[in-house]
Symmetry: D2
Subunit: 431 residues, 4 copies
């Protein structure tokens, strides 16, 4: 496959997105920017927001005030106002289709949201040094979704200039970090005619030049938000009249992390965001924990959830606080099909920039892409999750995460070639 | 002393201020509203913000963003723009003087700030029912400082129409709840010519019609802000790479409340506001505790502070987090002079609306007015802290706190009469 | 009053008892030793164990194995075997009476039990240096009850040689530290004819030569034993199958100490003894907390108890453990009568060895003597709690507690004189 | 191989040992009983205690008082007094040798110690129903070592009556549960001439009739004992003077279980036994934790240990307690050689009583047999760890653990046959 994509163009898109990270369901600028690029390409169809989502199954959507704040922020950029209006209310994301007539349908899924964490401002952090550090203070592309979006556009560019029979769909999915975006895409039915699906992630501790043809070991995941409602009181005058919600929350945190490991396999717990109280001189009346649990299997995830809920309820009782637990979205486990792995491996081996192809690896994390893989597989299609190595100085989700931009072109080339190989070999309409 | 103050006017001011509670150093609307009333009275001098504060000793001033947000909010009201501009940067508060020539100088101190807590929206909460519930959601006059400000204006109104020899100063002090406003007033020197000072508080579990002529038992207090800085990590992929700041914070909270009682007297501890982490899937990198300790004596307060700091440092070590403790403002203890108590008691007994006069009571809480009492007493003057009873359905600092507005006029009358009695009997220039 | 008691004799008894501290209801050697001394004196009647106790109201009696072990240990000394047999089953303590015919009845109460703590073996600890350190390793007279018993014998010796009209009872009470011995004495009725009662304690941070004529401020107290019953499991193979009772216990401990201070006065909490689990490789199945709460009033004690029980129940829920709480004995508050205080103060002032007489002081601790004071007062008698100062290098209940033996004779003299003064002035049969 | 061992004899030995479980290094009765049986067999040599141990490398030996108590208890049985005297001081265990001249040397290792936990007294627990429940209250054969010892004797009996060339050693190892007995055996050199070693365990969730020919997945393990030394004080009078060791311990427990899972594999933590304080009215001065950590690799075990130690140190700082950590014994991981697995599998398949042979399984726990396997493998020999299935109603280390006695004969037959197959095929002197 000949090279048809410009490295500098990929880098410029990635850096532009990197500067403006947006949390899940708030990818207003990001979606508008993607649409702007799509307009210049020869794609046949673009669905946006509501058109591609089973909207009533969106999960973890921020409150209106937050949505409005991010939309206003996007309006303060040069993003197309008409596009932004279509996204209002948090209906973000897009799906672009190239339809070349009869033949199989293949799809690529990339995700586009950022994370709520502050980016490093150290001078040796490349985005800082090169001037594309996040301008949305407190938010950051710390997981490489800026690269994913760029690769998605690059693949459309590459295959737009390539002959094939069949159909290509590229899905720019919102709200992966919130485990919120894949399910409404899956339930929209837009993937139900897909014969082969590839989802992609950069990095994951694999260096530039390495490809993982099939990633498994997705942990099933669910999140929760627990609130503790006690009783406020003057901390100096009437300490005994309060029911201290922060003490309840602290008791829960201490014991959530103490849920025993399970003999059957990997489990995870995190109380990732907590808050409580309003002022140093008031006995805290309210507190909350936003947390998550994971398990190597759905059963292990459920074990953790059950334990976690009991811990939280008990902690409330200890401090006489009412407890409410809002169960958040969850995502199942999944497995890459060998037919996909073989094609991706072949594409990797055929690429001069690729130095090492690993057939299989374990993620040890979670991804709501599993909803999409499972959906395609259930309909009779095949699916795989592919890793594109990239040197990254800081770990995923840390302040110094960054990618090696040389990996962008590798990603575009290997994925384009993989999709072509699937288009050429997969039986259409098996679904 | 004849009645010269209108009840409805007092109520209307109180309700207006109640609707717009502002936290310490952000009393922009409040100060402007007070100045607006002062303009209509015959006061001889009004100092505002910087003019009455030793500005370099202000403590617990919010960050610029917060100050700007509150100032902007005040600009959205009908408050005088020119006045607001003078207050910018958090230089709030005012001092009004009536100067009638030779004679003693007496002063009344009222405080004007609100608390960061949400006001009840239950229909049986009078401010809700009568339409003057806080419009600054999440903030509330839950300690009656709206009443204090109204009483201060009422006293100026009453004595402005009364003959006396000497000088009256009424201090509208900012940032009492932050223990931040009294010290810069004390150090400004504006009270150094005061022969007799009265500070006032409504409520304190005393019913309408009861007066406490001298309150003692102020707990010495100090506040602190502790931050825990750990290491972020992907909660699913690399939980072991994180240093969990929320676990450190929870460990600290659990053990702060566990600091032993002291054989020598009353102590208090509160971790009144906590927060940590950014998202459920990131091992929390940062956390903080805003807390306070109190003691019946300064020594007991220092015992609590020393214990608290060690607990916090140790909790950081447990979870490998760097700990920073910013020591906040503190306030000493104080005692009401018998000469003041006697005059206030006499004024109370002479007032028909007063049903019961208590000579002395213990506060069991803290107040930065102690800085002012101590300052005046150190210069040779006398000082006292007076309680004006008011029926209040909810406790101080709770969501249902409210006052009985009948107590406003009682407060104005008793305090005006007390100040007149002091003006008539205190030896001027004793200081 | 002339001196009739030998200092060396007092010291030798005190040291002998100090060497053999015995916990509550196990004072076998101690009681036998007291009886041995009583035999040589001219007392008219001696009641032992069952004869002076309402046996069905004994509280906190150790299990049979413990009772037997201590009885066997006493049998290994030169204590009288026949006496020991009478005490078997934990029926310890004695009451000696001198009956001189018509006149009032006065009583002195001393307690005789030791504490379960290891005595210091440092060379500068006098009992170590002088060879009378506890031979019952892990047990210690760390609260001076060895001195109390000696003083009780000394008073009998002194008054046995003094003329008076009326009756003297000296009560050697068991199990004070367990809050277990006073109630069965009170309910036995043996104090119901007492016109005036004195209870005594040495030390309490008062130096040798100081007398406190009336101690008040007894904290109401109650104790509890909480057990957590979880589920054991192999810690390596099946950690998830366990319900960890030690985690539940630790959660309870953390939060028990975190029960808020009370605005109405002094409170106390202690989880004084805990245990759990059997081996490092078994998930702990069982755990227990022996604790206590105290309050300045019975209401405050009950507040603490209620809070404590809820904390413990909640902690059990957090870790899925069954919780059982056995409520232990309690003791009320009490107050010394002024008529007693006056006589003791006079006796103190008349004594050459006494350098300072304090009329009143606060204990700030608890004592089951309050049962006896309350009983006598309820029957119409008068009662007081007296402090005999003694220099003590270590605090009460610590490993280096010791008394200044010069205080023994002071105690005997002042108490004997106080009792004589009561005998001479109290109206008999007022009860 | 023909059957030469009597089922009833095996059962009677197992039940006799079951009645008298003894903890590690205290297997006095157990060792004596084994020696008694060995005397009746045609073994050529028996080493006991010191003769088979590198005595200076024994770990986790109980204190003298405990050793003496258990020795005295054994003396109260019909065990041979002369044998017991040889074992005094905790030099337990034995090694029996059958030497048939030139040929390879093969060895079987069984362990013989019990666990410190109370055995169920429910009527449906077979040892209770059939009268062989533990008479050593609080101790129990809850891991099947009674069966192991019986099987070891059975194998000696079976092979004593079988012809072979070479040498058989059967090692009755003490103190496996304490991770204390294998290392001194390994370092004694007595296994250095062994060409093939089998270690055995019953149960492990495999039913009667199932054989696991090679068990891997041993978790590396280490234990620790942490002591917290604070300051005692009277809990009522001087709570602030104490440094509460129980609060420190509870803080440590809460946070030990909260050490994060590791991305690289399985980890374990247990605070299996804790204690602290002496009485409800003394602020606890001392506390301890006996705990352990495990890891899928030695590195993971070390990660856990490092985290645990920091947690413990920090918890001490929180409560101003001195911390001492005694590092206990550890054991590495290990792997079964395929050559051993093949022979055991063949023996299993050849046995009529065996219904299912699994080639390999993971233990997911720890075993100090890994020291022996590693030692033999390092010297050039081969080694394997074999599972003999047995229905067990309760899990290992729980109060209702029991074995199906039918598995005893299966174990004897399969292991005897496996050892014969090794004797016939292994090259002697490879070491």
């Amino acid at each position: 496959m000949e090279q048809t994509v410009d490295h500098d163009w990929l880098v410029s898109i990635r850096r532009d997105l990197h500067r403006r990270p947006e949390p899940g369901w708030c990818e207003f600028y990001t979606t508008a920017r993607i649409l702007e690029e799509l307009e210049t390409m020869g794609v046949d169809d673009v669905l946006v927001g509501r058109e591609m989502l089973a909207t009533d199954t969106r999960e973890a959507v921020p409150d209106d005030e937050t949505l409005t704040r991010w939309l206003d922020r996007a309006r303060g950029t040069d993003a197309d106002r008409a596009v932004l209006d279509r996204l209002a209310g948090g209906y973000t994301g897009a799906m672009a289709t190239i339809d070349r007539g009869p033949g199989p349908t293949v799809a690529l899924r990339v995700d586009i949201d950022g994370l709520p964490r502050r980016e490093s401002d150290e001078p040796d952090h490349v985005p800082t040094a090169e001037g594309f550090r996040s301008v949305n203070e407190g938010h950051m592309h710390a997981c490489g979704h800026d690269a994913h979006a760029s690769i998605g556009l690059g693949v459309l560019q590459a295959l737009g200039n390539t002959e094939f029979d069949g159909t290509l769909k590229v899905l720019f999915q919102p709200a992966e970090e919130r485990i919120g975006g894949a399910k409404p895409v899956a339930q929209s039915g837009h993937l139900d005619d897909v014969d082969a699906l590839i989802a992609v992630h950069v990095g994951l501790d694999h260096p530039t030049g390495e490809i993982v043809a099939g990633i498994d070991g997705f942990l099933a995941i669910t999140s929760f938000e627990a609130t503790f409602e006690g009783e406020g009181a003057h901390a100096g005058g009437h300490p005994n009249r309060g029911h201290n919600a922060v003490q309840a929350m602290a008791t829960a945190v201490q014991n959530l992390y103490g849920i025993p490991r399970h003999e059957d396999g990997t489990t995870r717990i995190n109380a990732g965001k907590v808050a409580g109280g309003t002022a140093s001189n008031i006995v805290p009346e309210d507190a909350l924990i936003e947390g998550e649990v994971r398990g190597e299997t759905t059963g292990l995830m459920e074990y953790m959830r059950e334990e976690a809920y009991r811990v939280i309820e008990g902690a409330g009782e200890v401090h006489n606080c009412r407890v409410t637990i809002d169960q958040g979205p969850d995502a199942p486990s999944a497995r890459s099909d060998q037919q996909v792995v073989r094609r991706v491996a072949s594409a990797g081996e055929a690429n001069d920039r690729v130095e090492n192809v690993r057939r299989r690896d374990e993620l040890g994390g979670s991804e709501d892409a599993t909803y999409l893989l499972n959906r395609v597989q259930k309909q009779g299609g095949i699916a795989g999750y592919v890793g594109i190595g990239t040197d990254h100085p800081g770990g995923h989700h840390t302040a110094t995460f960054d990618i090696d931009e040389d990996s962008l072109l590798i990603g575009v080339e290997v994925l384009s070639d993989s999709l072509i190989r699937l288009l050429e070999t997969v039986e259409p309409g098996a679904t």
